[in-house]
């Protein structure tokens, strides 16, 4: 673990609502609180509609927060202006999901990677070219690619270009929004290993957003599980796997197939019933209660509080509240 005890990001009671038409509110992110420590990789998992991508985009200010605060390096991200905002653009960067849409098809690879340099005036002329070549080599590509166009590359290579682009401005914190979901299995490991190496070499902090639990567990120090806009559990990777507390986490873990026929055939599966409720009309109280095999009466009435139930292990579930009835 390369994490330190210093907090680089503090998210407090973050909410992001989208207003779609008359009285329709999508509560994509609804009161989320967590911290990210310098040097660590925090994984954020959840299924579609859980809000994990929205969180990522709100943190980097692609979206404005509806309420709550995002404190990055002791500054409130959503109140930054002018020079401070420019500085923030350099300190926090993002890697996107779709290798086919995340690169401007009309720009050369060299220009794409150098965009950050151009915007912030970090290097011009010969120095600019040298820096771009250096970045290309860092991500495992070559100088000969500098004048090519994105469509001439494979998905995995495009993701590398996207990583080089993010690295150009020398960020401290990178949000990776499903960076490998669209890649072939054998390429995923390449890109993830690259990211790990870069983290070691440059002391980066990552927020790794994905739906592939196995990969998230592999790369992350700590993992947060989201459901319908809320964090339901947060703990160290191993701890989450060995001692998962929230029923949703348990179901999620049991649903992930393991590439081992013996283990698979012997597994106890927790199959959830039904579908994820619509974010337009989430269930009252605990949002997971409609599919929870352990739901109690209180779950429909009271929203569970976010508590540290074991050391460094948070969960929001009535099963663990003080005075909760045993299941």
């Amino acid at each position: 673990m390369t994490a330190t005890a210093e907090k680089i990001l503090e998210v407090k009671n973050l909410k992001k609502y989208f207003y779609a038409g008359r009285n329709q509110v999508i509560k994509a992110v609804d009161d989320v609180t967590f911290d990210v420590y310098k040097g660590e990789t925090l994984g954020l998992v959840g299924e579609s509609g859980c809000g994990k991508s929205t969180i990522g985009r709100t943190l980097i200010r692609l979206y404005e927060a509806t309420s709550g605060s995002v404190i990055f390096k002791n500054k409130n991200v959503h109140q930054l202006k002018g020079q401070e905002l420019k500085k923030f653009n350099r300190e926090m960067q993002m890697i996107f999901q779709d290798p086919y849409a995340s690169l401007n098809p009309r720009m050369t690879v060299g220009d794409i990677i150098a965009e950050g340099l151009d915007i912030h005036g970090l290097a011009t002329g010969k120095a600019r070219r040298e820096r771009v070549v250096e970045l290309l080599k860092t991500v495992g590509l070559g100088e000969e690619h500098i004048d090519r166009f994105p469509h001439e590359f494979s998905g995995g290579q495009r993701q590398r270009i996207g990583i080089a682009r993010a690295l150009a401005v020398e960020p401290d914190f990178i949000i990776a929004d499903e960076p490998i979901s669209a890649l072939d299995v054998s390429i995923q490991a390449q890109v993830v290993n690259l990211m790990k190496r870069l983290q070691r070499e440059k002391g980066l902090t990552y927020l790794f957003i994905a739906h592939d639990l196995s990969m998230v567990k592999y790369i992350s120090d700590r993992v947060g599980v989201m459901y319908l806009g809320q964090l339901v559990e947060l703990a160290d990777s191993e701890e989450l796997y060995e001692h998962s507390l929230h029923p949703y986490t348990e179901a999620l873990l049991s649903a992930v197939p393991i590439p081992d026929p013996d283990k698979e055939k012997r597994r106890e599966r927790i199959i959830l019933k039904g579908d994820v409720p619509s974010p337009l009309n989430p269930p009252s109280g605990c949002r997971f209660r409609t599919r929870c095999p352990k739901a109690m009466d209180i779950c429909a009435k009271v929203v569970p509080t976010w508590q540290e139930v074991r050391p460094q292990h948070w969960v929001a579930c009535h099963l663990y509240e003080e005075g909760a009835k045993a299941e």
Binding site: E47, S186, A189, V192, P257
Partner: protein, 337 residues
């Protein structure tokens, strides 16, 4: 007992303005009655093209079946006309497409879409068909079928739509079900539901199933036998134990060690270097030669013969040749010489 489906030396190519893409280059495999065969591969492996050619679903042009034979229950179906193939589709061999979002007609109720399949292959009154569709919907786990039968695809969630697709594929009670990445577009908890459903339906109806996927976890969960494809060819095939515990092909091994496992603490994933092959100009030798850590000169020049290690376990690799040097293994579950 003869296999219900026998594919021999299938070759399929596509004509594009960039040249001829050889998507499937001599693929052979069998499907036995009652078994689940998984076809595993990444992009460019040819797995989807292989399986779509079985039912003549490849648009021709630009696609072309260049050669090979496909025998269903002893009968050659590779060169059949559209009309003849139509009788097989749905009634004998059902197909579940990958993306439920785009495979359903948004302007027709799902009851009608399923009903169409039914009425095409079985003569029955409309009332009987209606009842049959409700029965189908219930059997794929859709609650309130009498109500939902009149709904349109957009009123269903992703998982539900996939269930509808499965119902459509099963409507005419086929003997074989082909599922093309049926859960790739779905969330993992829904994936668990769908795989469970497929398993139970297969048992109830005594079907044989071909499952296409790139997810080895899904294979471990559902499959009896596996074939691994790369660059338009089958590189290894065997039952699940063979492929997971006793795999010998460098690609299979590389694939297994490059996927993270929930049940393990891993320091570093071993990756397969390089990129998927270019099918416009496939290498004349083994398709995996550019990425194989054990590549030898012969690999670059000649396609390896098929080595038969047991009746079920086969692979194509020059390392199996008696003259090849021994290879030291360190990967868990891999070979030891």
């Amino acid at each position: 007992m003869k296999p219900i489906l026998e594919v021999r030396d299938l070759r399929v190519s596509f004509d594009t303005h960039e040249g001829e893409i050889q998507a499937v280059r001599g693929v052979s495999f069998d499907l036995h009655e009652g078994e689940t065969l998984a076809i595993v591969g990444e992009s460019g492996s040819g797995k989807t093209v292989t399986v779509q050619s079985l039912l003549g679903l490849i648009p021709r042009p630009p696609g072309r079946i260049q050669g090979g034979s496909i025998r269903y229950r002893g009968r050659e179906i590779a060169g059949l006309s559209e009309r003849e193939l139509d009788q097989i589709r749905g009634a004998e061999i059902g197909y579940v497409f990958q993306d439920p979002m785009t495979s359903l007609n948004p302007t027709m109720t799902i009851g009608r879409q399923i009903g169409e399949v039914l009425l095409k292959h079985r003569k029955m009154s409309r009332e009987r068909a209606f009842r049959q569709v409700i029965h189908l919907l219930r059997s794929v786990g859709i609650s309130n079928p009498a109500q939902r039968i009149r709904q349109y695809p957009h009123q269903f969630s992703g998982g539900m739509r996939q269930r509808v697709m499965i119902a459509m594929a099963l409507a005419a009670s086929p003997r074989v079900l082909i599922a093309d990445e049926p859960t790739t577009a779905l969330d993992v908890t829904i994936q668990a539901q769908i795989l469970d459903l497929l398993k139970s339906l297969k048992e109830q109806r005594g079907m044989s199933m071909i499952l296409i996927t790139h997810d080895l976890g899904v294979v471990a969960e559902v499959a009896d036998r596996v074939i691994v494809m790369y660059g338009g060819k089958v590189v290894e095939s065997g039952d699940v134990e063979d492929v997971f515990k006793r795999c010998r092909h460098p690609y299979t091994r590389g694939l297994l060690s490059s996927i993270p496992r929930m049940d393990r603490m891993e320091e570093e994933l071993e990756t397969i270097p390089g990129n998927p092959p270019d099918l416009l100009a496939p290498p004349k030798g083994c398709p995996f030669v550019e990425r194989c850590p054990y590549a030898m000169k012969i690999c670059n020049e000649w396609m390896p013969d098929v080595t038969v290690r047991s009746e079920i376990h086969q692979l194509s690799c020059w390392l199996e040749h008696p003259m090849a040097p021994p290879v030291k293994e360190a990967v868990g579950g891999g070979i030891s010489r």
